[in-house]
């Protein structure tokens, strides 16, 4: 167990940090460069006001037409994304581990809140899965990788939930938890999960394009 733990919490963790940060920076820089090459006017006509206006309309619940049309999906998506970020970043166990290895720390949320948030993430993933299978037009557009990405996101939360409660095979589940978290982070720059990086760029671009150039709304 020590051998596996030392590997996933040692070299593999470093690899994750390098792939996640290095990959993210690389992807952002290359998309910025590509935008310049494909369309020289992008930067010349870029307008931060319209860009931010669009971002706001897509980051606040029900602030755009698409969300109003799909209230359930909107609620689940917002709950999902909020919990997805807050639970791991402010989980006590993560804070104390970071404190031990880097001697930095920040606030944490009570375990019970993190527990509820974890359940919300897992339930949301199940919702997204059912939606993908049951709604014909989404099912038709789905590829195998969509399901794999969903599983990659759900895995750290399922294993984290099981590990916290110590119900079954505690040691193995904990190792799988660390491993699945690392896999998820490494996948962010290189899969559909890259919308975590590109959301602001694409929204900003669209907002600027629609607002400044076409004088219309994009929400």
């Amino acid at each position: 167990m020590h051998l596996i733990y030392n590997f996933v919490a040692g070299p593999l963790l470093w690899l994750t940090v390098i792939v996640f940060f290095g990959g993210s920076i690389y992807r952002i820089l290359s998309i910025l460069k590509m935008a310049h090459q494909k369309d020289i006017a992008v930067y010349a006509y870029f307008n931060p006001f319209y860009a931010l206006r669009s971002v706001f309309h897509w980051i606040i619940p029900f602030a755009n037409e698409s969300m109003k049309k799909h209230p359930l999906l909107t609620i689940v998506s917002f709950a999902f994304h909020i919990c997805l970020f807050l639970a791991p970043l402010f989980l006590f166990a993560h804070i104390i581990l970071i404190k031990q290895s880097c001697n930095i720390s920040w606030g944490y949320i009570p375990d019970i809140v993190a527990d509820i948030m974890t359940v919300m993430v897992i339930l949301s993933c199940i919702f997204f899965l059912i939606r993908r299978i049951r709604i014909p037009e989404i099912h038709y557009l789905s590829t195998r990788s969509d399901y794999i990405v969903l599983a990659i996101v759900a895995a750290p939360f399922i294993t984290g939930f099981l590990a916290y409660h110590q119900w079954v095979a505690y040691d193995i589940i904990s190792i799988l938890h660390i491993l699945s978290g690392e896999i998820m982070l490494m996948c962010i720059p290189f899969t559909k999960l890259n919308h975590a990086l590109f959301f602001f760029l694409t929204r900003g671009y669209m907002g600027s394009e629609f607002g400044k150039v076409r004088h219309s709304r994009d929400w």
Binding site: H2, I96, Q100, A163, H165, Q166, Y170, S174
Partner: protein
């Protein structure tokens, strides 16, 4: 099923031990530092004497240390003084005290590649 059986056997054995020892002496079997106003984890499993026997730690000062001018005092020890006495001030964050426990316990386990390193290995839910 198997796990449950083992838990059952474990509980019975620990009950027997608890009664036998309960009448003879106060034996540390777990740590539940009362300096923490609230406990968010189960107590850390630590059968003091038995642990130090199996882990072959003869020197009490490995854990009950004394520091002088930033250097660990040789041949001196501080057993009987709770860790919190030196490692916790009223205005300290609980994180600091938790951290020195973890540094000492988990740190040695990592170094020796023996003993629990995952939260639940020490903070076992019963």
């Amino acid at each position: 099923m198997k796990i449950k059986n083992w838990i059952g056997i474990g509980i019975i054995i620990s009950l027997i031990f608890a009664t036998v020892y309960g009448f003879s002496q106060e034996e540390i079997t777990q740590l539940h530092d009362s300096t923490f106003k609230t406990h968010i984890r189960p107590p850390a499993q630590f059968a003091h004497d038995q642990h130090n026997d199996t882990a072959q730690i003869a020197d009490c000062s490995t854990c009950h240390h004394v520091y002088e001018h930033g250097k660990k005092g040789e041949g001196e020890s501080s057993e009987g003084q709770p860790c919190s006495q030196c490692h916790f001030n009223q205005d300290d964050n609980a994180l600091e005290l938790i951290n020195i426990y973890h540094k000492q316990c988990r740190g040695c386990h990592l170094e020796k590649k023996a003993g629990p390193v995952l939260c639940g290995g020490c903070h076992q839910r019963k």
